[in-house]
Symmetry: C2
Subunit: 607 residues, 2 copies
């Protein structure tokens, strides 16, 4: 397996030419960003290639170990985490007052990609740690911030997010973990499952952010509170004290990310784990979404990062593997398989879609920076609305497409792709979780259709569609044939998106007036999200094409333009079925009763 | 994990109402078929559910073992194989004169599905064994038939197919294994890889069918010969003699089908393995295709079989797992996830496509029976042409779609789908090989476009499209709204297929006259195959709908009709992008030079 090479040139293109570094660098706090972009990218690329990538396959083979309540990570992981922390990577986007570097999300999105592409199982630790930091930063008391955040940023401790329970996967209304007040703290009892890096051997302390219910809490999601539950309690001077009543009861045997321990955590086996309330009682769901939204965005990045790593591996294999003749040649002289049109098609399919996903994520990251730091309240609110619209799309569309891409990359290897030693099978196994955790594709799609579209009366969606239509116009006006041909395809997709959105809006109004079928409408939620994703990805490729056509004597821009054209000819046409599926197909999705879904297994005619 | 339940009712529907058992039963040799269909299906279903299914997960966990040249299968497999053989299952479609039961392919396709669905790793053994039997049956001498076939049918011995070498995966022109004449036999030296069940502990002897070159053979595929190379040589009286110079050098560590040993086989380490020529020298490729075509069809069946097994598991889970409220309910009362529209959509997506794939395979199986036994030479030739057209489609379309379906089934499990203990992750790992072995999707697509369409001057393709158009007409004429709405969608797909085929035919003529771009045309080979698959699957669903609308007061037929409607609303619209991709997109697939595919990894602007 070739060593990971970060797509630095495409990062720079996205950051500076497509997502608007200039504007981000004008925001208060980000003034230094422009100067550090290149050195930070270079440094992270080296770390990813030299430290994380070599541990990826060995970590998968060895996996995390569990023994009597303690988790040990695979060989080399602990040392790599120390190097990672010492180099200051955890604090990249974190506020300087707690030891961070305060760099914009736009830059840290590129850095995140390099961690995820080179070693997804390792990088899950920092990903969740970041969620924990953000929750305390945004909802904790100043004392909590001072106590926990500098140590979570320095890597002396790590943080986790503890949401899921056996009966409460996606449904947090069912959370049962109890938190009973006891002086200045609470005592927690209950079990959490699927806790990523819930235990490990990196650090002496682990700070769990745990959802639980107080005795007076109302039922459902309105009765959930958020607690800090450290593995080790702190003495008055801040030094580590006794062990809290928290225990890892086991780790899961999973399809992929073997090196990332997925822990069952037991709280209060000895009477109650000491926990400290974050923010207010019963406001936990709100805080959880703060952690969750950042994590959702990051998982979307994770998806295309692994896809890019698998693409790289496939490209390298296709350039070396000699097999069969060129289809247009008379003589049977075997050629490298990259010469075969279908292998080229698979590679282009990977390349074009990865670039589209990356650009949409970087665009969203820039909006995140504006939402965070823009002093103009209106601009800030508009940016936040776009972030909220695009977060479920980045999460779910990117991970759905990435799973397909990794499969295509594996296919380039032929039989070797199925052999574990080749390495690409690991990416295939690893990437599959990204469609599930931090909210499945179904959940993201309900979020998009319900909260982000219907509840917003389509306002932000229509604004985004308007931006896309403006790009379509620009593309159509180009004298470059590739650009205008691409524009025609994008135009069709944007039109389908607009028409489908109007239909859904009208349906929503019907349902409010007691007519229409809500369930049939939501049967189209995932197709609607996918239509958004492919179209928004196309919008990004269109914006890229407009930049590239002016510089097409440079090889990078020439390839970018050709990649956009590929996206227009091969990816956008895929969207042409979604409108029918959503606007007509809801009824047929629900037509068969659930007990009739397997009549073919009843022996009706076979006595 | 719920126990496997065979879709017996759908088998019966396909066999008797869609694929034409009545006509098959009129063919000489198949007169008894009608009477045995139900008892054979029942018996096989019991064997699959009670013997094979329980060994599937344990076999995966334990995997095949390799020790010093010997392969041991997981616990229970050897006993299961003995039961399988003793029950006579190997001989189901084989000629009675060698101990088989001579039943039609139409019936054995249903039986094959049950083996594959319940235990793909186990069933790979019999699948390859069947290929070996067919090769000897069709190309061997009477003496070879008498010597080997009864024992391969009784299960006293097993057979393998030894094609691949390290430098020759898909490209058999590169086969290097040597066969030097030596008296009445040849001495073989060389290495074969990826040999399924190349060694095992089931039987005392294994009959390898090996491709090799004689010293005088021409280069390329025209110089390949086929040899029988038994693991143990036979004494004059037919009893087992000394060990042949054949050795298993190791087994692969694979993504899936862990219980199916994938062997590296060394021939002639001690001077030469004794091999017996099958048929004529240098005709091996032709014989190989005999084995291969049957195996290709079987792998297509394997694809949707695993998809159906995963669908079953998902359906059972979705009926039990309680999570989140009904989207249309006011109160937050958690419901079983099958109530959620998106879960229903995923289940319908599985159900509709599995049924379409199954029907196309059964239709092809009936054509196989006519190609084999129809006394009317014209009917026989027409059936054979349809078999040849549909074999790459059944193989590649079914396996591509099945991989997506298993992924959708896994998604129904949420986080539990990623945990190995749940069982669906195994199906996800297992099914992935089906797109690769016995010829990748790319190879099948080149076969379809090149051999089956262009070389045939589109004759058989146009005939099949004509049959589809007739079905579209019938559907359009129906007064049932589901039927006519389905017909409209199928009509669009058939039209796109016809127009795309005409375009490809015209391109082919241009290329013959020295114009046009052969490579760009073949860049559309896989999309063309997928367009065929979805459309032909739709044709089958249309034929099913025409049967079902007349009996729609019966729950099975009502569900069949609703399933067809789902296929029309959700699956067929997906095909609307293929025409553009194939007829316009070829150039953009090949526009970027191979060394420019990763310019983003060169540090052009980052010094």
């Amino acid at each position: 397996m070739s060593v990971y090479q970060a797509p630095l040139r495409d990062f720079l293109f996205n950051i500076t030419e497509l997502a608007g570094l200039d504007d981000v660098a004008k925001l208060p706090g980000y003034e230094e960003a422009t100067d550090v972009v290149e050195p930070v990218l270079e440094e992270a690329a080296n770390f990813a290639s030299n430290v994380l990538d070599p541990l990826n396959a060995t970590g998968d083979r060895e996996g995390a170990h569990f023994d009597n309540g303690n988790v040990t990570t695979p060989k080399g992981f602990k040392a790599a985490f120390k190097q990672f922390a010492d180099a200051g990577w955890i604090g990249l986007p974190m506020p300087p007052e707690y030891g961070g570097q305060g760099l914009p999300q736009l830059l840290s999105t590129a850095v995140l990609e390099m961690w995820q592409a080179s070693n997804m199982a390792f990088s899950n630790g920092p990903l969740l740690n970041q969620g924990a930091i953000e929750a305390i930063l945004l909802c904790g008391t100043e004392e909590q911030k001072q106590r926990y955040i500098p140590k979570l940023i320095s890597g002396e401790w790590t943080g986790t997010m503890d949401l899921t329970e056996p009966q409460a996967g996606s449904d947090l209304a069912q959370v049962r973990t109890k938190a009973v007040p006891s002086g200045d703290h609470y005592l927690l009892t209950g079990q959490k499952i699927f806790i990523t890096y819930g235990d490990h051997d990196y650090t002496d302390n682990i700070v769990h952010l745990v959802l639980a219910r107080t005795p007076t809490a109302p039922e459902g999601v309105k009765g959930i509170s958020l607690f800090i539950v450290p593995k080790r309690l702190l003495n008055a001077d801040g030094s580590l004290g006794e062990h809290n009543d928290v225990k890892c009861a086991g780790i899961e045997h999973k399809l992929g990310i073997h090196a990332s321990p997925t822990c069952t955590m037991n709280y209060g086996e000895k009477g109650g784990a000491v926990g400290y309330l974050v923010g207010k009682e019963n406001e936990g769901l709100k805080y959880m979404f703060i952690m969750m939204n950042a994590a959702r965005f990051s998982v979307g990045v994770q998806g295309y990062s692994i896809a890019d790593r698998a693409f790289q591996a496939a490209l390298s294999y296709a350039r070396e593997r000699v097999q069969s003749k060129d289809i247009a040649a008379k003589e049977w002289t075997p050629v490298r398989i990259i010469e075969h049109p279908d292998v080229r098609r698979m590679l282009m399919d990977c390349k074009a879609q990865i670039e589209a996903m990356r650009s949409l994520a970087f665009y969203t990251a820039a909006q995140l920076d504006h939402a965070h730091a823009n002093p103009d309240e209106k601009a800030k609110a508009e940016a936040l609305a776009l972030v909220e619209l695009f977060t479920p799309i980045v999460k779910a569309w990117s991970t759905e497409v990435s799973t397909q891409i990794v499969s295509e990359a594996l296919q380039c290897f032929g039989g070797m792709g199925f052999i574990e030693e080749t390495g690409v099978a690991q990416y295939y196994r690893d990437v599959r979780i990204a469609q599930i955790y931090e909210g499945t594709t179904g959940i993201q799609s309900n979020d998009l259709l319900g909260r982000k579209f219907l509840k917003d009366n389509g306002k932000t969606a229509m604004k985004a569609i308007g931006l896309m239509q403006a790009t379509v116009k620009e593309l159509a006006a180009s004298s470059n044939e590739d650009v205008s041909a691409f524009g025609a395809q994008l135009g069709k997709a944007v039109q389908a998106l607009a028409e489908t959105s109007h239909w859904l809006g009208a349906q929503g109004l019907q349902i409010l007036s007691g007519k229409g079928d809500l369930r049939a409408m939501f049967a189209g939620a995932v197709p609607y999200l996918m239509l958004w994703g492919y179209t928004a990805g196309g919008w990004m490729m269109g914006r890229a094409a407009l930049v590239a056509e002016k510089k097409a004597d440079d090889a990078f821009y020439k390839a970018k333009l050709a990649t956009a054209r590929y996206y227009g000819d091969h990816v956008l046409p895929k969207t042409s079925g979604y409108k029918h599926e959503i606007t007509v197909g809801g009824a047929s999705t629900l037509a068969i009763q659930e007990d009739e879904l397997d009549l073919d297994r009843r022996r009706l005619a076979l006595v």
